[in-house]
Every structure is written in C-alpha cells, then in structure tokens.
Point group: C2
Chain length 264, copies 2
C-alpha cells in the first residue's frame, strides 16, 4: 500500500473523541480512518499522568500495528499528559487537540481574557496556560476543572434543569471575566448550547474543527493526502461495544457499524 493510502489513527478514552472523528471525516472524506476508544479504562480525566501515559502508549502501539500514516490524539487529557512523551518515543506524526485550540483562541480573543475548561487531569497539567503564555504573555487565563461534565455527556444528559444547575455551579462566576472559552475536553461540544446560554456573548472554541484543519494541512504539505474515493471507517473498543454504539449515536447522529472488541 502506498504512503498516502495508509489509514489515519484516532484514539480517545471512550466516545468523546468522536467529536474529532466527525470533523476529520468531514474534512478528509477520502481517508481511511481508524478510531480506537479505550472504553474498558474510561475515563482518563481523573487518572494520574503515569496511567494516562501508559494507556496512551498502549493505544498508540495498537494503531501503529494497523500501519497508520499519522495519529490524532482526540482526547485533551491524553494530549495534555502524554503527547510530548509519545512524540519523543514514536517515529510517527502525532497531532493533539490542544495546539489548534490555543492558536484559534489567541487569534479570536478581543480582550485577551481566555477561559479554559477541562477534566481534573488536564487542568492540573497547566498545559493550556503554558501554551497561551508562549503565544502572548499579556493574555489572562482562567482555568476550571469541570469533572461532572463527562459523566453527564456519557449518560446522554445534554439538556434540562439538572445539567443547567451543574453548568452554573462550575461556570457562573466566569461571566464578564472572559471573552473566549476553550472547551478543553472532546465531550464538551455536546454541552455547547447549555454552556453558551450560561455564558452569553463568550466565544466558544471547540478544538475538533481546528484539529481537522491542521491534519488536512499536514497531510497536504507532506504529500500524504488521499484524494480519490470514499474512505473506510473502522471502530475498535476495549470494552464490549454495546454501550459505545449507543452513546456514539449522540455524537455522530447515526449508528456505528460493528465496532470491534480488542485488547490493547
């Protein structure tokens, strides 16, 4: 198989990365995409850096065996805690969800006040602050862990009073203090409406579309873009596929055909 016909790997702790997968699928219709959801060990957001690095390494080894030409880490926690290590270890182009979101946030923020929300582990890593300051030291960043958002999304609770009260608990005091908010977890775009109505007028940044753009540019520059035909889509999970398939519908709007159970 030629270099450009090789698949693109995508991994996440579970279903969250499907927001990224959806945008990749749209931006790169001819590419063969392989998605791996580590559903046996989900969530990553409250696990230690050491465990997230180990899980991510195992996921990447699995995708490498599939002869992927590059891999997208469709998980903010894995990107925060493991991307740098994986880049220094694997001889494979890797993209994370953080740089593209930071790039966008810095370019759209008018008042230089950016909020970042994510899992406990992502926020504790302070990777967003570091990357934003590297671009512009004058920007003020407010970070906030929102650990209950992932369980709400995984339960399909995407609207209603209970969710609104949780969103308010985490975010109400950011009102008036930020002009831009990075949704620093691939699950959060599904809560966009409720977050937007709590933080009216704040520009919300969803990294999925940005990552898809960056991946397309990279493949084009490297001469690795696959242009012809309709690419295959494959799904692998580490726990039984039943509940993954059900929740995936919330993300993709359609059913996933036969996700396969694997051990990584």
């Amino acid at each position: 198989m030629g270099q450009n016909n090789r698949p693109i790997g995508v991994f996440d702790s579970g279903v969250g990365g499907l927001t990224v997968f959806k945008e990749l699928s749209r931006a790169l219709p001819a590419e063969h995409l392989i998605y791996l959801g580590d559903t046996a060990r989900v969530p990553y957001g409250n696990k230690s850096p050491q465990s997230v690095v180990r899980f991510s390494t195992e996921n990447l080894l699995f995708l490498q065996k599939k002869k992927v030409k590059c891999v997208v880490l469709a998980c903010n926690t894995a990107t925060s805690l493991a991307l740098e290590y994986l880049q220094s270890t694997f001889c494979l182009p890797l993209a994370g969800v953080i740089d593209p979101a930071v790039e966008k946030a810095v370019s759209v923020s008018v008042k230089g006040r950016i909020g970042v929300i994510g899992t406990r582990s992502t926020i504790a890593s302070k990777v967003y602050e570091r990357k934003i300051f590297k671009k512009n030291k004058k920007i003020k960043v407010i970070s906030r862990a929102c650990p209950l958002f992932v369980p709400f999304v995984e339960e399909g609770l995407l609207k209603g009073e209970v969710l609104e009260s949780v969103v308010k608990m985490y975010l109400a005091d950011l009102k008036g203090r930020i002009d831009t908010l990075i949704l620093g977890c691939t699950h959060y775009p599904l809560l966009k409406k409720v977050i937007a109505s709590c933080l009216k007028g704040v520009y919300l940044i969803d990294s999925a579309r940005e990552v898809a753009g960056v991946t397309r540019s990279f493949l084009t520059e490297q001469g690795l873009l696959c242009k012809a035909g309709k690419g295959k889509r494959e799904f692998y999970v580490t726990d039984e596929p039943g509940s993954f398939s059900r929740t995936a519908r919330l993300f993709l709007g359609n059913n996933i055909k036969n996700p396969k159970l694997v051990n990584v």
Copy 2:
C-alpha cells in the same frame, strides 16, 4: 503463619468499597485487612459483564498471592456480575455485598415493597430481583440505575442543591411506592442524608454493616477468627495513590497511610 492469622482481602473498583472496609475494620479489629482499589480502571458500573469479570479475576489473583483466608467483594457491580463465576473458579471463601443486603431488606420490609438503586450494570443484571423473589415471591421490587451518583461521590459532592436535584431526578417518583430501599452500590451510603430527605420514612439499607456481620459469623464458624491484638491495615491501588488518598478521607474520616501502587 496459622490459618486464622492470614489476612482478609477486600477489593473494589476504587474508593467505594471503603464503606465496607470501615465496617469490617470495626467488626474485626484483630484481623489483618488488605484493601485493593482498582483505581486505574474505575468505574466498573458502566462497563460490560465480560470486562468486570476479567477485572475481578485479576484483583482476586492479586489478593490470593497475599495468602488471604477469604475475600470480600466490596463492590455491588463486581458482586452482581462476577461473584458466581469467581466462586466456581477459585478455591477460596468469597463474600459479596448483595446477599446480606437482600436478607436484611426482606426481613425489615413491612409492606413488601422494596426499591433497589445501583449502577447501570448492577441494575441490568437483575440480580437483586432474582434474590428477593427467591426469598419471597410476593415482594414487589422497583429497580433504578442512578449512574451519576458515583461521580458525585468521587468528586466529594455530598450535599447541596445540585446533588439534591440529581437525587430528585432519579428517586422522586419512588415516594409512596416503596417502604425499604437497598443502597445497591458501596458509594451510596455517603449520600444517605440527601436520599433520606428525598424519601422520608423509607428504611435505607446499607450493605456494609451487614457484610461485616456475615464475615464475622463465617470466620467464627470456620474457626478462622483472629482474636488477639490489633490487626494490620494495608492498601493497594492500581493508579497513582494521590487522589485515592484524598477521597478516602471522605470515607474513613482519617488519612490512609501509604497506599501502594500495583499492577494487577
């Protein structure tokens, strides 16, 4: 080491089983207790039966190497999905959290209307219904999965309006329809106050105390009880111990000394 001086093993997906550990510790002060929390793969409640059986087997193999004289499965999901299999496979006395709670519920229910709350996997297994019907076919059982309770407890959110609205969402319609409620998850005793105020007059059953009693009786009958001295307490976890230690304080009211990181 003599038979009766060997340790008692206890395992759970994470911190929830500490409610059981606490009661065991109180009922069996002279025993050497070894607790294993599978924090790298927590939670179990939304994982498949196949994965929960695999995780539980690995946990039990770890404890078996510690020469335990018996093991308590301090996790309702593991008890629902794996106890029967483990009992048929391992030559080691095993106790789960379900039988003692069922025994108690059937004995205290006045009107024969019992509610059961638990994780998705526990409720889907229908093990409580089966066991209650076996005792008394006339009892009416209403089961309800409450998948957001575990994340709330793990976040230390044990009171307040947001929690109250979640409890109401799951349980308000049980009012007047049950006289007894089994807290079918070892995390739930920490939400007892809020649940009780939502379901006034309903008898709440927390399996931890019941299991401790059953374990004590078993050891006494078998001549395995350790009577003298103050027993050692050891803690093992599969993810870095930091957040386990923090959350454990909510359960035990004091700090855990040096939980050790292990691979199972």
